[in-house]
């Protein structure tokens, strides 16, 4: 007799388990033929390299005549011809051990990795468990001091709220801020809101506006943004070509930013090739290592990776979250800045999303999040981050529990209110000076105390869009913004914006892993190089910083009893 499955008596425990948030996540078995495999596919090539007449004629089992454009680019621009034969002769396990060994310096590992092929890098990464990867990441991160980046967006693209949120995010410690749009034509306003909001609190915060590439570049050239990172690259030729791009066209775009003194990094991540049905049966990590090596060959200073918007795919397969950590680590192994993801929702489970986040937070990366949502996820126009503004206290307490510097600081409510007000007020003044649609006192008040865009009065969108379009049409620059604010006596923020423009001429913040501190000093892998060689070395929190992290507002003093 065949049992009717719905009539089977259910275990009460299984019913409880089924209702847990983690069981709303999607999980799938591996499907290697279509690239549904995290770190090692049967179709991944085996490592090999052959040199003839000063160039690579065989790469990972493929002859030069069979190279696709990524193979060619990596063979010609990334791999160090002089050392490759020697380095490829090393056992992968030995290289993996060097990554973890505190007695082997970062520089020594970099020298080895320079000579490796993509397949070899993947073989090395497959030797490591997650704790070893975190140890390696702690050593291989380029900048000594870890940092953090946030998302500041809202569903209505409200510029007053956005400036206030940018100010709060600056106060909370984010060194880089990223926005994007709901309505594309709002883009110049969003760039303005982040620039004004962030600089209201402190000079040196870098801001960007993630958009279609030509507009993104235009805003950077105008000096309304100070860096860019949404320059996407992919691990197979077919997916690359789908976007009408090549490694050469992306390199050209990168040099356009460099020519104007603007920081930029590429973006890639595991799962994107699967999502676009172009994985060619290779593992997600192998394809991502090709992206990392392409970024290196293009000469950019850094990469945003950690699966990013395709995280639902690696997160659904075995060892997928480990693969994401491996791709972050691989980025640092090529001496690139890593903005290490954690910027997209991937789980309904608080346990699971915290466990994943700790992989980057505990060792520290150049930017632990490439977008911690400084606003509620309901206002996050990047489709939601792994942690949002409602998780801020949890994050601060994890920093305190673990004595780990995750880049954020506890803040007083009164300070936040003050800075949000200042930012909104500054936007009002700027809009008046530029003859943009007025910002009312009611809006300033709402933005000062708001949690989300639902707390804001509605603006006249058509009028805003007309003004926003005029920014591009008339070519309003960062200098125009600084002058307008100076005219109205807002000297401090005007000077900070002007200083950000001066940074472009100096160009120091084009160095790897650059952030700019409150004294307008660039901190990069050049003057703040990671020198970790075990306990007592590398980044150690200063006493002041530890005091700051310790003093959360929720803690009570024993003397109160």
């Amino acid at each position: 007799m065949k049992l009717n499955p719905t009539a089977v008596r259910r275990s009460k425990r299984f019913q409880v388990l089924e209702d847990r948030p983690v069981n709303k996540d999607g999980f799938v078995h591996e499907w290697p033929e279509q690239g549904f495999i995290a770190m090692s596919s049967p179709d991944d090539p085996l490592p090999s390299v052959k040199i003839q007449d000063g160039r690579i004629i065989e790469l990972d089992g493929k002859l030069r005549k069979d190279f696709d454009m990524l193979d060619q680019f990596i063979a010609d621009y990334t791999i160090d011809i002089k050392s490759t034969v020697q380095m490829m002769n090393m056992e992968s396990l030995d290289i993996a051990r060097k990554l973890v060994d505190i007695n082997v310096s970062r520089a020594e590992v970099l020298a080895v990795v320079k000579g490796l092929t993509p397949a070899k890098v993947v073989e090395v990464l497959n030797q490591l468990n997650v704790v070893e990867m975190m140890m390696a990441l702690q050593k291989m991160r380029a900048r000594k001091k870890p940092s953090n980046q946030c998302h500041v967006t809202n569903v209505r693209d409200n510029p007053v709220l956005m400036a206030a949120d940018a100010a709060e995010a600056a106060l909370r410690g984010f060194d880089e801020q990223e926005t994007t749009v709901g309505i594309v034509r709002y883009a110049p306003f969003n760039a303005l809101a982040l620039l004004v909001g962030s600089q209201t609190v402190r000079g040196g915060i870098l801001t960007q506006d993630a958009l279609e590439e030509a507009t993104e570049l235009r805003l950077a050239m105008l000096g309304l943004t100070t860096y860019a990172e949404t320059i996407s690259i992919y691990g197979t030729e077919s997916v690359f070509k789908d976007g009408d791009d090549t490694p050469w066209s992306k390199s050209f775009l990168a040099s356009a930013y460099a020519s104007r003194g603007s920081k930029m990094r590429f973006t890639s991540g595991t799962g994107s090739e699967v999502q676009m049905a172009g994985s060619e049966g290779k593992s997600m990590l192998y394809l991502e290592v090709r992206c990392i090596m392409m970024a290196k060959g293009a000469g950019v200073q850094g990469l945003q990776n950690g699966s990013i918007s395709c995280i639902g795919i690696p997160a659904a397969v075995p060892s997928g979250i480990r693969a994401i950590l491996a791709e972050n680590l691989a980025t640092t192994m090529f001496d690139l800045e890593v903005a290490s993801g954690n910027d997209q929702t991937f789980s309904h489970s608080d346990l699971r999303r915290s466990a994943k986040m700790l992989c980057q937070m505990l060792p520290g990366t150049d930017f632990v999040f490439s977008g911690y949502s400084a606003v509620p996820n309901s206002d996050n126009m990047f489709a939601g981050s792994n942690m949002d503004s409602s998780d801020l206290d949890d994050y601060l307490i994890i920093q305190r529990d673990m004595m780990v510097d995750g880049g954020l600081r506890p803040v007083e409510e009164s300070q936040v209110i003050e800075m949000r007000y200042q930012a909104a007020k500054t936007m009002q003044v700027l809009f008046e000076e530029l003859a943009f649609p007025a910002i009312t006192e009611e809006e300033i008040d709402a933005a000062t105390y708001a949690n989300s865009s639902e707390d804001m009065p509605k603006r006249n969108v058509m009028e805003d869009l007309k003004a926003a379009e005029s920014v591009l049409k008339e070519g309003i620059t960062g200098l125009d913004v600084a002058l307008a604010l100076a005219n109205r006596g807002y000297h401090q923020v005007a000077e900070r914006i002007f200083n950000m423009l001066k940074q472009r001429v100096a160009g120091d913040y084009l160095h790897t892993s650059a952030i700019i501190d409150e004294n307008n000093i660039v901190q990069s892998a050049v003057n703040n190089e990671n020198d970790y060689t075990g306990p007592g070395t590398g980044y150690r929190m200063s006493d002041e910083r530890w005091e700051e992290i310790k003093n959360i507002r929720q803690a009570i003093s024993p003397s109160e009893y």
């Binding site: 996540d25 999607g26 799938v28 549904f36 569903v155 789908d242 999502q275 639902g312 795919i313 996820n377």
Partner: protein, 195 residues
């Protein structure tokens, strides 16, 4: 006692699709696997019901529907763009097997659009009907209120991997170089009493 109904859809690929002349025409271009290798969207809604709702939405506004099948790509932007290019009115709808839908217009860049519904798990039958209605209104040259797009940041954790699997199955049905064909469609509705 209540009634449930099921719709059977018959789709038959015909001759090569050419450019339409009827200014009321809205072309719906379906993806390579739609109603063939795959029969349900990502949330298990039958393709027959989806197509019927879109067509009903178009016809309610006096539009004329033509359905074509694209073989060359699984990329929604290009499926929708093809529909618009071949449509008598210049308005087309593109739909993938997993349910993701776009309203496109001739003359726009392929990666641009009139309306895009990117999160397939959130598209209801009512939304499909409204998509059809709006497409017909665009075809009449009217000012159109876009169909509200629903956003759920937790759709990715639940559906992204499944979406990828459906897309891969879709991509396996691509026939490179094969031009789009007209599709004859008909529906049979049967009603059943349920106790």
């Amino acid at each position: 006692m209540s009634y449930s109904y099921s719709i059977e859809m018959q789709m038959e690929d015909q001759s090569r699709a050419s450019k339409g002349k009827d200014p009321k025409e809205v072309v719906i271009a379906v993806s390579p696997a739609f109603g063939k290798a795959l029969s349900k969207t990502i949330i298990n809604v039958e393709h027959s019901k989806v197509l019927r709702e879109i067509i009903s939405g178009i016809e309610e506004q006096g539009g004329v529907t033509r359905v074509i099948r694209n073989f060359e790509t699984a990329d929604l932007a290009f499926i929708g763009h093809l529909a618009a290019k071949l449509s008598g009115s210049g308005i087309g709808i593109g739909i993938q097997s997993r349910g993701t839908t776009i309203i496109h217009q001739r003359g726009l860049d392929p990666l641009s659009n009139l309306e895009l519904f990117p999160q397939s798990p959130l598209i209801t039958l009512e939304t499909y009907r409204n998509i059809g209605r709006n497409a017909a209104l665009y075809a009449r040259g009217e000012n159109v209120d876009p169909v509200p797009v629903v956003n759920d940041q937790m759709a990715r954790p639940r559906y992204q991997a499944i979406a990828a699997i459906l897309h891969l199955k879709e991509a396996q049905q691509i026939v490179g170089g094969k031009p789009a064909v007209n599709v004859d469609y008909s529906f049979t509705i049967s009603e059943e009493e349920t106790v």
